[in-house]
């Protein structure tokens, strides 16, 4: 059984998204992380557009355009500016060394695939198998948030997680209803904005973006 070409391309993009997630996990520099995030957004927008074209779901074109606008242009631009302004582009070692993180990542991917397998089998959509990849991306981003101690990488991890969710929504269900998608996009936008304010506040108060300073509040 061979799939139609556009679906093969969606599959390829799914694999690419997963690969970018791993690349993010292994990246030590913030600027490179932002670039990878932009690439992830681009792959996401492309796959959304292809699904839109192949299934004739017009509202997905809007989603694709929105993704392109927000995640490929606006947010990376904002992050680049932030990094330059705050001068935080140094090599930072994550809490767990990178090969170990990678191995944990592989285990997470296997876990996600296992979780998704029964669902994929009953699903009707043609891009069903990408659900597992979406779940893996979510888990990997989660791992990235755990292993990073700096504010900006944590935020990028959060946004990458959102990318994974969005990919699940477009590939497995051909997109949520437009209202919901617009709402989600709005929330993400406001969230990034709030974070921007927040990062400046942290910077002012702690004179650093290292969240290691923020370990006062814990149970004694």
């Amino acid at each position: 059984m061979t799939l139609a070409y556009h679906l093969q391309i969606v599959n390829l993009l799914a694999a690419l998204l997963l690969l970018i997630s791993f690349a993010m996990l292994s990246q030590r520099r913030v600027v490179a992380l932002v670039t990878l995030f932009a690439w992830q957004g681009a792959a996401l927008a492309t796959s959304t557009a292809i699904v839109a074209w192949s299934t004739d779901q017009h509202h997905l074109y809007y989603s694709a355009a929105l993704t392109l606008l927000l995640k490929v242009i606006a947010m990376p631009w904002y992050f680049y500016r932030l990094v330059r302004k705050l001068n935080v582009n140094r090599v930072v070692e994550p809490m767990i060394n990178i090969p170990t993180t990678m191995l944990i990542g592989i285990v997470l991917v296997i876990f996600a695939f296992n979780l998704a397998l029964p669902i994929s089998e009953i699903s009707g959509t043609v891009t069903r198998s990408t659900l597992g990849i979406a779940m893996a991306i979510v888990l990997l981003s989660f791992l990235m948030m755990i292993t990073r101690t700096k504010a900006i990488p944590q935020v990028i991890g959060f946004l990458a997680m959102e990318n994974g969710l969005f990919f699940a929504a477009t590939s497995a269900t051909y997109g949520m209803p437009l209202v919901v998608e617009l709402g989600v996009a709005l929330d993400v936008l406001v969230g990034v904005f709030v974070l921007g304010i927040f990062i400046f506040q942290i910077r002012e108060t702690f004179d650093s973006l290292d969240l290691k300073h923020m370990e006062k509040l814990r149970e004694k």
């Binding site: 959102e162 209803p177 989600v184 108060t205 923020m214």
Partner: protein, 483 residues
């Protein structure tokens, strides 16, 4: 029609207060908007009691006895909190902890937060429910860090990241839900409408729904403050301004639990097993026990009551998990009691810490001497939340525990132990705060604690006597949740 007023007023309030800025009477305007919201909520409640459940706005909004009860509660507590915050925030400003700009942010975000919660409660669309929950989080993140102290920033960051991750998982759950629904309801806007989903819930794919529920429970459960995902909650409550702690504890947690319950109804219908209920019971029981032992170790008064919130939310989750008409009834009643009592306690604690200039319990002594109103407010609130009769918390806890004895006897010892530990530690802490010896003179001005006694009066009344129409209303809601 009331629904549009209900949602429009807080939204307009948010915009208006952002523009109004720090001009005179901003706190009064804030309270006025909240009052208008309360009136709209009252009108809506009246209508639902008269006419039964209704759909508004082409199916976008759905109100039944379950959510209208929460709408009324939310609007009420939001109003009293706005009343409380007026003098409280003024004193904070005099102490130099806040400036005009931050106060403007506070007022504006407060209204938007209330609006987002009301939207989450009234919407019929599971996707919009998610969006509104996320909006409520975002509106409160900057409120938690309002004081800009290192600790408050840390708390807010933790709140944002943890709840952000939680809510992202909930989105995944929502996507899975849509994924299952779309096959039956077809793609497009209607497949996420709760009423539609409820109609076809028996046909939804069980595998997908059970996975979806796990994600929804973990996701929204983070916001409910269920252990082990609770670690943001004590920090956010302790470091944010007291009115924010009051609404977080009294309202946001309820709304998050509401989201879980809406999902549970669907999943129960699809699965036909107790899987969802068992999961909730497990999380609930764990939260109750963990929180009870954490309470014992606290030194900060707001943190202690934050853990008490976790304990009570755990108890409510447990009750909902047991299911059945009586348990649901008890859970709904306990939700009401907890919201009213806990916000009252936070009001009293707010004034107490403001006067003492510290949140450390060891440094707060003899409130009854320096200011009897605060002292009595705190003492009565504490007695009420600990479930001493005749307060209403006793009635609901009693119902929950007796039901647990009937249906899940194994859980009762844990519950009783946890409640006992919590009782001993909270009472042991609060007693010297109120009756201890102090050198401090009596305070010159009286605090405005009318909301405290209003809430406690209500709790007392409901403990002694539940009006029949209210009981009917609770019963209807309990049946909606699957009797």
């Amino acid at each position: 029609m009331e629904i549009f007023w209900l949602l429009g007023i807080p939204l307009a309030g948010g915009v208006f207060l952002a523009l109004w800025g720090s001009r005179r009477h901003a706190p009064e305007i804030n309270a006025l908007f909240s009052l208008a919201t309360l009136l709209a909520a009252a009108a809506l409640t009246h209508r639902i009691i008269e006419d039964g459940p209704m759909m508004v706005g082409a199916g976008w909004f759905f109100i039944d006895s379950f959510n209208v009860f929460l709408v009324a509660l939310t609007a009420f507590v939001a109003f009293t909190t706005a009343l409380f915050s007026r003098p409280y925030m003024r004193i904070e400003q005099e102490h130099g902890r806040l400036n005009d700009k931050r106060l403007r942010l506070y007022h504006s975000s407060y209204q938007i937060f209330i609006g987002a919660m009301l939207l989450a409660l009234t919407t019929n669309n599971m996707g919009i429910l998610w969006v509104a929950m996320e909006a409520a989080t975002l509106a409160t993140v900057l409120l938690v860090s309002l004081y800009r102290t290192p600790a408050s920033l840390e708390a807010a960051w933790k709140y944002f990241i943890l709840c952000g991750v939680g809510i992202a998982l909930a989105l995944f759950g929502t996507i899975l839900l849509y994924f299952a629904a779309e096959k039956i309801l077809g793609s497009g806007g209607t497949a996420l409408l709760w009423t539609h989903l409820n109609g076809v819930k028996a046909q939804l794919e069980p595998t997908v729904l059970s996975l979806a529920f796990v994600f929804l429970l973990v996701g929204y459960g983070t916001k409910v403050g269920l252990a082990p995902l609770h670690s943001w909650l004590p920090d956010a409550h302790a470091e944010g301004p007291t009115p924010v702690s009051a609404v977080l504890s009294g309202l946001l947690l309820n709304v998050a639990l509401y989201a879980v319950m809406r999902s549970k109804v669907l999943v129960d219908g699809a699965l036909g097993t107790d899987m969802a209920g068992n999961l909730m019971m497990g999380f609930g029981l764990f939260s109750v026990v963990l929180a009870a032992f954490m309470i014992k170790r606290q030194t900060d008064v707001k943190r202690m009551f934050a853990y008490s919130s976790i304990e009570h939310m755990g108890l409510i989750t447990f009750a909902f998990g047991m299911g059945g008409a009586v348990a649901n009834f008890a859970a709904l009643l306990h939700m009401t009691m907890h919201s009213l009592t806990k916000s009252a306690i936070f009001f009293a604690v707010g004034h107490a810490t403001q006067k003492a200039g510290t949140q450390l319990m060891d440094d707060i002594r003899g409130l009854i001497k320096t200011n009897p109103t605060i002292g009595w407010g705190l003492m009565l609130g504490t007695i009420a939340i600990l479930g001493v009769p005749p307060f209403g918390v006793f009635a609901s806890e009693f119902l929950i525990i007796t039901t647990a004895m009937h249906e899940h006897p194994w859980a009762t010892p844990f519950l009783l132990l946890a409640l006992g530990v919590a009782f001993a530690s909270i009472f042991g802490r609060v007693q010297p705060m109120v009756f201890g010896e102090t050198e401090l003179p009596r305070l010159p001005h009286q605090p405005a604690l009318a909301p405290v006694f209003l809430h406690l009066g209500l709790v007392l009344m409901l403990g002694l006597f539940i009006p029949p129409y209210l009981a009917d209303w609770y019963r209807q809601a309990a049946e909606l949740l699957g009797g």
